[in-house]
């Protein structure tokens, strides 16, 4: 809690910087709009303006700077414009009972969330299975671990279009499955690494104690290794779900998807509506924040029940 004040201060500083940047970024657009509106602009020719720097344009036309803060298609929208657009496409539509309309970010966020959760589930299962195999089998450890590391240095976006081509050829309709595969690819690695660390965290003395109880391998796993790995698991799950969301959006960006937050960004780019891009970006950020916070709460509750302090 003692971090609240510094965080607010930094956020305020960022907002000030953002507002300050809007003026030079938007001055050209503002002057074009003012020129078309018949106002006096220096220099009057668009071609002359093109050759001058933003700073000189601002000095020459101080009256038109304010216009840059309320453009319809700004190069850099103000935070208030972004918040407005975000509200118009989420809260207001929900109030009018059209939360699932194709123009609502709630609908697109829901599409993205579905793929993210499927990818997260798939990646977590794969990561945990891999970790168990690595901890219990030396062959798997020696052959799989280096490739798991290499797999993360491969830029997945290069593979993303191929995954979509392949899955459509195999007969999978829609984009949900390939997106989930891409997000699972990004999400399994943190889970794998965290679980291997966690499953190996019980010391030799603890394992020996279980052996003196003549506990079987399964019992040792269920009663010692698995509980001991829980703190590691949750830490990795938090990284994993953020990675899964990144994966889903990466899966939506280059592939011509039509629904999902990534698709909103893509469509906003094609139709030249920067406000839609910014709103989708912030919606994705909010979604990431909610998901990580939910996992954090689950972690606290479960670890407290298990007698470990989070």
């Amino acid at each position: 809690m003692r971090n609240i004040l510094p965080i607010l201060a930094v956020l305020a500083a960022l907002a000030v910087l953002w507002y300050a940047a809007v003026a030079p970024m938007n001055i050209r657009g503002a002057l074009d709009v003012a020129d078309r509106g018949g106002a006096e602009v220096i220099p009057a020719e668009p071609r002359d303006r093109f050759e001058q720097s933003a700073w000189r344009l601002m000095m020459a036309n101080p009256d038109h700077i304010a216009l840059g803060y309320s453009l319809d298609r700004p190069r850099l929208p103000t935070p208030v414009q972004v918040a407005d657009e975000l509200w118009n496409t989420t809260g207001e539509m929900a109030l009018r009972g059209r939360a699932m309309s194709k123009r609502s970010l709630i609908y697109h966020g829901w599409i993205t969330l579905q793929s993210t959760l499927w990818g997260f589930a798939l990646g977590t299962v794969l990561g945990m299975a891999g970790a168990i195999a690595i901890v219990y089998s030396r062959v798997v450890d020696m052959s799989l671990m280096p490739w798991a590391i290499i797999s993360q240095t491969v830029p997945i976006v290069a593979l993303a279009p191929m995954i979509i081509v392949l899955s459509s050829q195999v007969g999978i309709e829609g984009r949900g499955v390939p997106k989930a595969i891409i997000s699972a690819y990004l999400c399994y690695f943190p889970v794998l690494v965290g679980m291997v660390k966690g499953l190996r965290s019980p010391g030799a003395a603890q394992l020996d104690l279980l052996r003196t109880y003549s506990a079987s391998g399964v019992q040792a796993f269920l009663k010692l290794r698995l509980p001991a790995s829980m703190p590691y698991l949750f830490t990795s799950l938090k990284i994993g779900i953020a990675a899964a969301l990144v994966g889903t959006i990466v899966g939506e960006l280059p592939t011509g998807a039509i629904s999902g937050l990534g698709a909103r960004i893509l469509i906003g780019d094609q139709f030249g509506t920067p406000l839609a891009i910014w709103a989708a970006l912030f919606a994705a950020a909010i979604l990431a924040g909610i998901l990580v916070t939910l996992l954090d709460l689950t972690q606290r509750i479960i670890l407290r029940r298990m007698g470990m302090q989070a």
Binding site: P6, S143, M162, L166
Partner: protein, 282 residues
């Protein structure tokens, strides 16, 4: 069919060999430690080849590794041009600029405990966001050529490196700083001789995360507009024009570039932080 059988037999044989190697008394030697993962990788490729040939998969869907290798050898000039555009110009320059900017910001912020406490949570949060989404905005701002790709990479690598550096600079404990004070060392001396070396493992951690992000950023930014070269451009047009083997060759280049980039940073880390417990040989 015989291809399929061969692939399966090879798989079983390689697995048995790996199992016996991993349990043999040579398992600690470097040769075996390298041989086992290499054999695993070769097995995957043989399985791929066997399945594609055995089941007669159309090369438009999934080309065999041998076809990809052939295309790779035949179009090295295209691949080299794309590699230069995407990796050397886009990713690498963005990586260097972003790392330097993050580094400078971290050292400036570190002077104020207040700012550090405010920035660490925000930086951690932003580092987890799908920043990749800003690619179309930056392509709009900086044009189609490599400058916009470098800009995307700068933003993507900035936060992981910043957060790790700030965290690393806080690693020294009061005892060590007090020792520097008894030597009458000033801020700069303490920074260079104590706190930066202590922060190096963290900085390298951030740099390693950033290597992958840099390539992802450079490739995705090309999907939003690029001159008629670059790996992302070639992949997106290749999928459209069904030259899938060239796409796989580009993927192979991307994979090798990513691994080499990561390996280079990891190698530098070992050379620079040889004193750290995780790199000591016992």
């Amino acid at each position: 069919m015989s291809w399929l059988v061969f692939a399966l037999v090879f798989w079983i044989g390689a697995w048995a060999l790996n199992a016996s190697l991993a349990n043999s008394r040579w398992r600690g030697t470097i040769g075996v430690r390298v041989l086992i993962p290499v054999l695993f990788g070769v097995t995957l490729i043989v399985l791929w080849e066997g399945f594609v040939r055995g089941l007669g998969v159309s090369p438009v869907i999934l080309p065999a590794p041998s076809t990809v290798a052939g295309t790779f050898a035949a179009s090295t000039d295209i691949l080299w041009e794309d590699f230069r555009q995407t990796v050397l110009k886009g990713a690498l320059s963005g990586f260097v600029i972003g790392a330097l900017a993050a580094f400078a910001t971290a050292i400036l912020i570190d002077r104020s405990a207040f700012l550090t406490r405010g920035l660490l949570p925000i930086g951690n949060f932003v580092a987890a966001l799908p920043i990749i989404g800003i690619a179309p905005i930056l392509v709009n701002w900086f044009g189609f050529d490599w400058q916009s790709k470098a800009a995307v990479v700068v933003v993507m690598v900035f936060f992981p490196i910043l957060v790790n550096t700030v965290q690393g600079l806080r690693e020294t404990d009061a005892m060590q700083r007090d020792l520097m004070r008894t030597y009458a060392a000033g801020y700069l001396d303490t920074l260079i001789k104590l706190r930066l070396p202590a922060a190096l493992p963290f900085i390298f951690n951030g740099l390693k995360i950033a290597t992958t992000l840099a390539l992802i950023g450079a490739i995705v930014a090309e999907y939003f507009g690029s001159p008629t070269r670059g790996m992302g451009f070639r992949i997106s047009t290749g999928v459209g024009s069904l030259s899938i083997d060239l796409v796989w060759a580009e993927i192979a280049v991307a994979a090798m570039a990513g691994t080499a980039f990561y390996g280079l940073v990891a190698w530098m880390e070992r050379r620079v932080t040889f004193w750290h417990p995780s790199h000591r040989r016992n």
